[in-house]
Amino acid sequence: MKTSSYLKTNLKERRDPPCRVACPIKTDVRRYVSFIAQGEFEEALKTIRETNPFPAVCGRICARPCESACRRGEVEEPIAIAGLKRFVADYVKNSIFPAPPIKYREKVAVVGSGPAGLACAYDLRMLGYEVTLYEAESSLGGMLRLGVPSYRLPRPVLEREVEEILGIGIEVKLNSPLNSSLSLEALLDEFHAIFIAVGAHQNLKLGIEGESLKGVLDGVRFLRKVNLGEEVEIGKKVAIVGGGNTAVDAARTALRVGAESAFLLYRRSKEEMPASKEEIKKAEEEGVNFNLLTSPLRILGEKKVEGIECIKMDLEAPDESGRRRAVPREGSEFVLPVDTVIVAIGHALDPSFLHGKIEVKKGLIQVDPETMMTSRLGVFAGGDAVTGPSNVIEAIAAGKRAALSIHSYLRGINLSSLLRTEKPLESLSFSLKEKLKKKPRELIPTLSLEERLKSFSEVELGYSKENAVKEAQRCMNCGSYAEVLSDLCIGCLTCVRVCPYQIPRVNEGGIAEINSRDCQGCGICVAECPARAIVLPSFPDHGVTVEVKKILQKNKEREFQIVGFFCTFNSYASLDSLQGIKIPCLGKLSIYQILKPFHLKADAVFLVGCGNNNCHFIHGNSRVFRRVEYVKKILNDLGVGGERLEIWNIDDPRGEVYQEKYEEVKGRLRGLGPSPLKACEVGMS
């Protein structure tokens, strides 16, 4: 065997799913999506909350880097990860967490209650520190409350989530801005570490003529007023300058508070707009006019705004950094008659409250990028105040990282030992993409256009249980691939022959290799390998045994002990009435796994496939039908009786057929009597 192939088969370095790697807080996306696919919603929410204290918020307004990385997107469309997160966050009502004990004597102050501050406070409290949260305003949430419109994030949702975070035992001081009466020094006297996450709330100016006219509004302040329920004065024709989320939010909000038309002016094209694509699409649906490749020259008017003079821009070819410079097109000036101009070209930190105690450059607090510590020992900072306007998930990530860094600072632990390094799976190979079944994304229903513009009601309505399960079933479980145990492999070619995707190959050394990048983890080769030389770490043998034992224990007092195996990829996967073992495709079940319940003295075993010739893994369902026939023969030979084993394919969203079938099995058992193994006294492990 050549050394290169030897290394290939012997180095078992597992790769991570790209969604998880792309997530700034490394949420175990694959795991919770797979729980949703099985109808295990509470488990899904628990998984999300292991890393994210804001599931309902992120389910709505996350920038979704996970979805951009999702390999399903290479086949047709990425999994609607945020939509699924929102579904479980809304669906699971009971998610109260007990306050963890205070383990350490050091106290930490967090300044600012936006997503960065709250996430940091939450993680520090979970680690066992006493935390006090200082907030300048009279309510918590930072930009989530003041910046994000309620049609994207309803306030009761935000409030519930904030309450849950505080519920683990975080002290809050409202109306407590850092200023002369509450100085950094005073905090440093009381606390061992401070995290500053005050955000960036100061609007940037255009710096053009007419900016001080009546009718020119500051985007951040405009949103803040609307969000706090204050009166805003707005005209009928509104121009919004900028291309980020604040600009799009301001445009959509303007239409909801009385503007008849909204014109969004952006100097580049739609592709370059930093706002989220979904929000841009919704703004278009709601009638926002996009004046792209347009730059304002001056705002016109005597005392109040009467129009805005603009110039058309051209994009140059991309430079070395890939950025396309916008240049004005000579002679293309034009006037847009408007009565209101909202400036939303960015916002920054107002550093005056720091009184020069901490280094600030260009409106951003300077920190060590590794530790997030500022120029002051024990004072950390993160979120928009450090990075400039970003998004909620980056803010949460900053808060979480700061919590770890503060923990490492207070405990003297090496920070890098607390961080997880990851290696993402490569993209799917071209030939595999062709073989995968196309399954379009489940649409997330939205409010009708008419309803939207009349109010601030939430635009996205969220998935129903059935749609969420169906959407989650599209997930390819990237990274749950099979592995060859080269010591056991006999190079028989079985895996090469049975794989529905033609992934395995036998190398020059006569040993099978399975490409981790493309393997879909269907488990067919694992069940069929005559040498038992292939393993699927996500589906270990003993896992099934444990589940079988649980079911038998649960049904101990019943008339018969019946064990059912269900395909997870099924119309009825989320039904509560089903009692059985959920298997992500029955093609994974080996002959001994099917026999196992009989060893444990079950009276009957049945398997329910996915039906309708619609196997998620192409051949999994048909393979298991053949295995069942083989096991029936074994059971007959042994005198146990093949009729105690059954397999059906049913497409049964309401579980009615299933109930009938179950009764049928019971009826048959009444004729057959209990398992002949029950009479024996010898125990079986």
Partner: protein
């Protein structure tokens, strides 16, 4: 490869009657590839034995071993430390393997769990067919690479016979007529003249029974 299959369970049951401590020995070569003696089939037989013992309320103690090749004594001797506790060995291998194990451990009973069938190959997943009878005098160069000894029901050297109908053998419509296959392939190659010469009866005296090969250059004694 040597193709084998598991004996009917009732036969195995009969063989091991009265034995409580069994060592199941698989073979990782030919018969593993045809799903008769690999890890999977050894475990499956073990599982069946245990189920049966449960039904009879008579406990059976089994252990499983896998040999690289059951037909070579160096590999088989590895079993030495495992046989002490066993009353008998149930060998999942071709007849050569069973005999090698029995030769290495003459003091213990060795039972064949498989029936050895033929030298053949898988034509598709789950289907094995015979392709060679080890006649000791290969003539495949004259028959377009298709063996009439193994694949013609009559083993004719000069075929086809009158029983060849529409390319199928009269024995069964599932068996293609080997001589029709030979004719067709020779025709495509333009070598039909190879059929002009009548092949004389094979010299079966070359097939010594029992067969043996001695390579003087490889002898160590």
């Amino acid at each position: 490869m040597i193709v084998a299959e598991l004996k009917p369970f009732s036969e195995i049951e009969e063989m091991i009657k009265g034995k409580q401590h069994l060592l199941l020995v698989g073979c990782a070569t030919c018969t593993a590839i045809c799903f008769a003696s690999g890890n999977r089939e050894v475990s499956l037989l073990d599982s069946q034995l245990k189920l049966k013992s449960l039904m009879k309320s008579k406990e059976v103690f089994t252990s499983e071993r896998m040999l690289k090749r059951s037909c070579e004594h160096e590999f088989v001797e590895e079993l030495g430390s495992f046989i002490e506790k066993s009353e008998a060995i149930l060998s999942l291998s071709c007849g050569v393997g069973v005999q090698t194990i029995a030769d290495c451990f003459p003091e213990i009973e060795v039972y064949p769990a498989l029936n050895t069938l033929f030298i053949g190959r898988p034509d598709e997943s789950g289907v094995w067919k015979e392709y060679c009878q080890a006649c000791t005098d290969c003539l495949l160069h004259l028959t377009a690479g298709i063996c009439p000894i193994a694949r013609c029901a009559k083993g004719l050297l000069n075929g086809p016979c009158g029983g060849s109908q529409e390319g199928k053998c009269e024995v069964s419509p599932d068996i293609p007529c080997a001589w029709q296959l030979i004719y067709d392939r020779l025709e495509t190659r333009g070598e039909l003249h190879l059929l002009d010469e009548i092949k004389k009866p094979k010299d079966w005296s070359k097939k010594n029974l029992p067969g043996r090969v001695i390579r003087e250059d490889l002898l160590l004694r």
